[in-house]
């Protein structure tokens, strides 16, 4: 036994350095490999257990929540049954995983219901002390926790801490800024858009869509004036204001938008053309026609696209020149217009007054 051991030692000592290194590395990899295998085994069983536990708790919290909602009455702030549930959840909330599961459960229902039930869920969020954990997240050093905290507070409509949230509006991480913006808009609707006045960073297309979607959940009549944003030096804010003008049909903004036809940014000019078309601002058609050929090809395409809904009989001669334009999109738009006007011969045209009826859906037997 000792001999073999001695032989190995000698062999190793006599081997060239590269072989020694290889043996050492092999041993190292072997040890790593074995520990990795044990870790994998441990990890898989932990994950499985965790999932099982989660499912059990989720079920439990779901029924607790429902029980809470049905054991309340109008006379008392909190009934005895509700008190028991609140105490239980309060205790559970001390554990991070359980806290997460409770919040998941509350939100799962809160996102789908409104009225009394939604208010009751919010009340439970306060009573169980979850709100304290939520606001605590704002002070975390980790940006992802801050962002998650803001999102949670927005989902429960917690307005009390809005000063602490607004304080993060210039956070270096765009993910945090995005959550702050969504928080403001979700809780203060159009008023929440005031952050646009001072916005230095670019509002990405993704952010714009999210904000508009949140706004569309409210039938607020207090539309803000978009003028100051249409004049903003931040191009992304201008683009966003154009989208608002379009969605909310802000005809009043037309003069401001017409000015944007000369904006230095191409995308702004293109969107401005489309929005003016959507708003039905006929006076800009002639304005654009005048120097159309000096414009960028993409602006020209946008112009003819817009003309599909804005043409009048007086445009026929003008459009006729573009019927065989070298650009495919322009040609398609112009031909579409002529088709709709029902023109075979340019000299004797008539406008097809009856709009094309939308395809009937009666043959819809099976929907996907």
């Amino acid at each position: 036994m000792a001999n073999i051991y001695q032989y190995c030692i000698d062999y190793f000592n006599d081997a060239p350095i590269i072989i020694q290194l290889s043996w050492v590395l092999s041993a190292l990899f072997a040890v790593t490999l074995i520990s990795l295998i044990f870790y994998l085994k441990f990890l898989r069983s932990t994950l499985r257990t965790k999932e099982r536990i989660q499912n059990v708790y989720l079920k439990k919290y779901e029924s607790d929540l429902i029980e809470y909602l049905y054991s309340g009455n109008e006379d008392e702030e909190m009934t005895k049954e509700q008190g028991i549930i609140v105490n239980y959840l309060h205790k559970c909330a001390q554990n991070r995983l359980k806290r997460k599961l409770i919040i998941t459960t509350l939100l799962k229902l809160r996102n789908e219901v409104s009225g009394e039930t939604a208010d009751a869920i919010k009340r439970l969020y306060y009573q169980t002390g979850l709100i304290d954990y939520g606001t605590l997240k704002l002070r975390s050093k980790k940006w992802e926790i801050v962002a998650r905290g803001i999102k949670e507070l927005a989902q429960f409509d917690v307005t009390e801490v809005h000063y602490n949230v607004i304080a993060q509006i210039n956070h270096p991480k765009k993910e945090v800024r995005r959550e702050v913006q969504m928080y403001l808009v979700k809780l203060f609707h159009f008023k929440g858009l005031d952050f646009l006045d001072l916005l230095k960073s670019q509002l990405s297309e993704w952010d714009q869509i999210q904000l508009l979607e949140i706004l569309q959940n409210f039938d607020d009549q207090n539309l803000p004036s978009t003028t100051k944003w249409l004049r903003s030096k931040n191009t992304s804010v201008v683009l966003f204001a154009l989208k608002i003008a379009k969605i909310y049909n802000q005809y009043d903004a037309k003069d401001e938008i017409i000015k944007l036809l000369e904006h230095p940014d191409l995308n702004v000019r293109i969107d401005a053309i489309a929005v003016l078309g959507d708003l039905g601002v006929f006076e800009m058609v002639d304005l654009l026609k005048n120097n159309l050929n000096e414009k960028d090809i993409d602006e020209q395409i946008a112009f003819f696209k817009m003309m599909e809904n804005m043409y009048t009989p007086s445009d026929v001669d003008f459009l006729f020149e573009y019927m065989n334009h070298e650009n495919f999109d322009i040609k398609v738009s112009v031909n579409k217009i002529f088709k709709e006007m029902n023109i075979q011969d340019a000299s004797k045209f008539q406008i097809n007054t009856a709009p094309e009826s939308p395809p009937s859906s009666t043959n819809l037997i099976q929907a996907s």
């Binding site: 990890l43 297309e205 859906s361």
Partner: protein, 469 residues
């Protein structure tokens, strides 16, 4: 003396390969953690339902797919995104694919002006749309056979949308696939995103029903298991790092989204190569570098696209043979960018890496084997040396695979069932011995075919059904 030099070169190659794997894995780890953090609170629901979300065309070429075409199309139509359409390009199929589609989806021929910005083979029967409003998103194009690249180009010409998602028709896309893939295009404000690549997961043995992935299983066949591990390694620990370095050279042909304008600007897919999916990315990147525009190729690591992998050695070998030839062709065609400072990361890191560790690796390995054989025949072998080197590389390979499995568990944890962990481990141990020789053989054959066999036929992948009930 010459022996020493050869040995040193082999050693340097192996060591640098190992090092590069470790470095890429480390970068991937950092990037993955960051991605997971960022995505832990993103709400995709808003993008999904918004009517102002950008429009996407899914382009799926089909060639003799009659077996599953109807079902595959239905699955593509069930994506949870608002503004998208599905363009099926029937690439001169000789079977009854078109008739089946017409019947299943109430298709009628329509007049459709096509902007032929990329030259393609002419249409055969023409363009079809459905009379049923439930299928208004569907466009079927019937054209003469011209290969996959040509079919994709037809789709690019036809698409009216800003973005195109090029996929294999038999892929299963998860419901949230499009909104996750479009995110980088929408949220990047400091550079232009020209393309985004997705992850391909292997669907063999998984339960798929009505276009939904119901149950993830590990297939029995070792060759497929080996590929699962291989894909996990490439997607979890490889591409994630390349995307961080902005050096991604390839987007899987099975699922990628492109900025249509840029794709058309560079002339679409190259119909002369068998590696059109890699080639177009290299060409698009090259174009952007030459235009001096700041750009990015994004990568989404979520398992969004599931597809059937070859389960016979014959088809597997011909697939890899084709990949090898595709790589050689692309690298040769764009030789100019290699080691060229004007092309930044693309020229100085990505290209050399692909050349040395993808393109040349099989060549070096075969040379090594021949050299080993030579030593063996002349009894020059120091067996103890040989054993320690083999042991070292084997242990590293296995450990690397195990790290991959652990990464998968920590991130997406798709293989939840009990027992799969052990089976994956066994695969990690067996794969280098059993699967690797076939991959090496296929790569060597690819090299041989590329240089010496001029009339090679395109490897056909006979497809099995996606739905297994």
């Amino acid at each position: 003396m010459i022996n020493n030099i050869i040995e040193f070169l082999f050693f340097a190659f192996s060591l640098s390969a190992i090092l590069s794997y470790i470095i890429l894995a480390l970068i991937s780890a950092v990037e993955t953690i960051d991605y997971m953090k960022k995505n832990s609170f993103v709400n995709y629901k808003e993008i999904l339902s918004s009517s102002i979300s950008p429009s996407i065309s899914i382009i799926a070429p089909a060639y003799n797919e009659t077996l599953n075409i109807v079902e595959n199309v239905r699955s593509l139509l069930s994506n949870h995104y608002v503004n998208y359409d599905v363009i099926i390009v029937n690439d001169g199929s000789k079977d009854d694919s078109l008739e089946k589609l017409i019947k299943a989806y109430d298709l009628v021929k329509v007049d459709y002006l096509i902007n032929s910005q990329i030259p393609t083979k002419p249409l055969r029967e023409g363009v079809f749309k459905s009379t049923n409003p439930a299928f208004e998103k569907l466009i079927v194009v019937d054209k003469e056979n011209g290969g996959k690249a040509d079919a994709l180009n037809t789709g690019l010409n036809i698409s009216p949308n800003k973005y195109v998602a090029c996929i294999d028709v038999d892929c299963l896309l998860l419901e949230e696939a499009l909104q996750k893939m479009i995110k980088p295009f929408l949220e990047t404000t400091d550079s232009k995103v020209i393309a985004a690549g997705g992850v391909i997961r292997i669907a063999n043995s998984c339960v798929i029903k009505d276009g939904k992935l119901l149950d993830v299983n590990l297939p029995k066949s070792l060759i497929v298991r080996g590929q699962i591990l291989e894909y996990l390694r490439a997607f979890l620990l490889g591409r994630m790092a390349w995307s961080k370095l902005n050096g991604l050279l390839v987007i899987s042909g099975a699922f990628g989204i492109f900025d249509k304008k840029t794709a058309i600007e560079v002339g679409g897919y190259d119909t002369k190569t068998v590696g059109e999916d890699m080639e177009i990315i290299v060409r698009m990147r090259r174009h952007m570098e030459e235009q001096k525009v700041k750009y990015k190729v994004a990568y989404i690591p979520d398992p969004l696209c599931w597809t059937e992998a070859p389960d016979s050695y014959k088809i597997f070998i011909s697939q890899r043979n084709r990949w090898t030839r595709g790589t050689i062709e692309t690298l040769r065609k764009h030789r100019k960018i290699g080691f060229n400072r004007d092309y930044h990361t693309l020229g100085l890191i990505s290209y050399p890496y692909w050349l040395i560790y993808e393109r040349l690796a099989p060549v070096i390995e075969v040379t090594g084997l021949i050299y080993f054989l030579y030593l063996l025949l002349n009894h020059f072998i120091r067996w103890d040396y040989a054993i320690v080197f083999i042991l070292l590389s084997y242990l590293f390979t296995v450990a690397f695979s195990v790290i991959t499995i652990i990464t998968e568990e920590l991130t997406y944890h798709q293989y939840k069932k009990k027992g799969i962990g052990f089976q994956l481990l066994m695969t990690a141990f067996l794969e280098p011995i059993i699967n690797h020789p076939f991959i090496l053989y296929a790569a060597a054959k690819g090299n041989y075919d590329y240089y010496f066999n001029k009339k090679i036929k395109w490897g056909e992948m006979t497809r099995k059904g996606m739905s297994n009930d």
